[in-house]
Amino acid sequence: MAGATTSGALSDADFDRFVEYFYKRTGIHFSSGKRYFVDKRIETCVRNSRYDTFASWFAALRMNDKDMLQELINQLTVNETYFLREDYQFDAMLSTVLPNVLAARGGVNRIVGPVKILSLPCSTGEEPYSIALRLLEEWEHIDHVDVEIHGADIDSDVLAKAAHASYGERSLQRVPKAWVNKYFAPVGAGRYQVDEGIRSAVTLHRMNVCDTAEMRRFRDFDVIFCRNVLIYFDELSSRRAAENLYGALRPGGYLFLGHSESMSRISPIFTPTRLPEGIVYQRPTGAK
């Protein structure tokens, strides 16, 4: 590999080659503006591996070493989040979206099957557990309607953390004290673990939203939160992700994107719906 000699140091040509490889495997594209970030993360991967140069590490990676690829994905995906982030969208879910879902599915007393909610990417679990907390504390029908909550992420390390569900005070800063006392248990060092009842109600999956074959496992969701991830994709990967999210939704189901994201620049297959709390995207009800 030209120009790659010591540790994780990358030449410009290496960087371009690496970016192309990573894009093909994940749909995530890094521009040259992310060069420093990528260099540092690759350096860590090379250091943690049994290879001593970028060239040998990259050659092994390209031989389809799944563990190496997963470690790389874990290094290069950003997972910073916290409980009740952008919670105006949870307000919208409670005040408008879930009532609409119930009405479309026959009402509280006649609904067949659970209401299904997906958080993707779920990172270390704050979002799906936030959804659970808001439902348990604020949704009047939670005792009458079954709700399935799923979380999915491409990064296996964060999924392990989500399963453990132990959080520091920074992550919990927006959670009311009464909720912390009710649904969390202190586990030392200023950390709190989500109680077993909620942990056992959130199903976690490793999943790449751009992978059509993987995403076909997800069907009939009523609500999907897919926030602040499409901004990392180029046009084609965003289109693929949009198609896969569409396929995962029930007709009439709702998709929440991050506040700075817009489906209108990605794909026309969703119907934008303006709610008091902002825009949500809906799979058209007429579409089977």
């Binding site: 005792d143 009842g197 198609e243 620049r265 297959i269």
Partner: protein, 204 residues
């Protein structure tokens, strides 16, 4: 009732269908099966001719978009050329969908630009400006500037101005003002430029 405790087994991956079966499904009466088949043909170059043939035949926009998403993933000159013929379609939905697909093909779309920029049909050139608006290519702005400076049709020039403006800077003031002078009888073009100039000159 309430939160459902997780079920033990992961949902199973649906059956993997071979290429021939997926191609057959492109004609299925169920649009959702057609949509899924189109997406699952990603990365299968042998299916490109059938997918290209579907672009003009498919009547469901969501299925057509899936077909275009898969075709855009091939990003070859043959695919780009096969799509570009639809920029002249009478159906607005089709030509817009194709323009969006071409805009996500930065490797192969540029090779078509000389012929698209010289297309005798000015509506094709308008759609070309739409492609350039979203094409992630270092020369995209230069091609738009060329359209603004040289295209003889005011609708094309206005479309190119609309496409350029989000990324325009002070260096483009000259070409925009020249366009206004080239089409003195087009108030919409003049209005578009006048509205944009304060931001470009820093006087907004």
């Amino acid at each position: 009732m309430g939160l459902v405790r997780k079920q033990a087994p992961e949902p199973e991956l649906p059956q993997v269908l071979d290429t021939d079966e997926l191609v057959r499904r492109l004609d299925d009466p169920d649009p959702e099966l057609r949509r899924e088949a189109a997406l699952e043909l990603a990365g299968k170059p042998e299916a490109v001719p059938e997918l290209l043939a579907r672009v003009g035949l498919e009547t469901e926009p969501r299925v057509r978009d899936a077909v275009l998403t898969t075709l855009a993933g091939h990003d070859s000159e043959a695919v780009a050329a096969g799509l570009a013929v639809h920029l002249a379609s009478d159906e607005a939905g089709l030509r817009t969908a194709v323009a969006e697909a071409l805009a996500s093909m930065p490797v192969s779309t540029p090779a078509l630009l000389p012929s698209l920029l010289a297309a005798p049909d000015h509506d094709v050139r308008v759609m070309t400006a739409m492609v350039l608006a979203d094409l992630p290519h270092p020369e995209a702005k230069s091609w738009l500037v060329q359209m603004i400076a040289e295209d003889p049709h005011p609708n094309v020039v206005t479309a190119a101005i609309d496409a350029l403006l989000p990324a325009a800077s002070a260096e483009h003031i000259g070409v925009l003002e020249a366009a206004v002078l080239r089409f003195p009888d087009d108030p919409f073009l003049a209005f578009t430029v006048r509205a944009a100039l304060p931001r470009l000159t820093g006087t907004a």
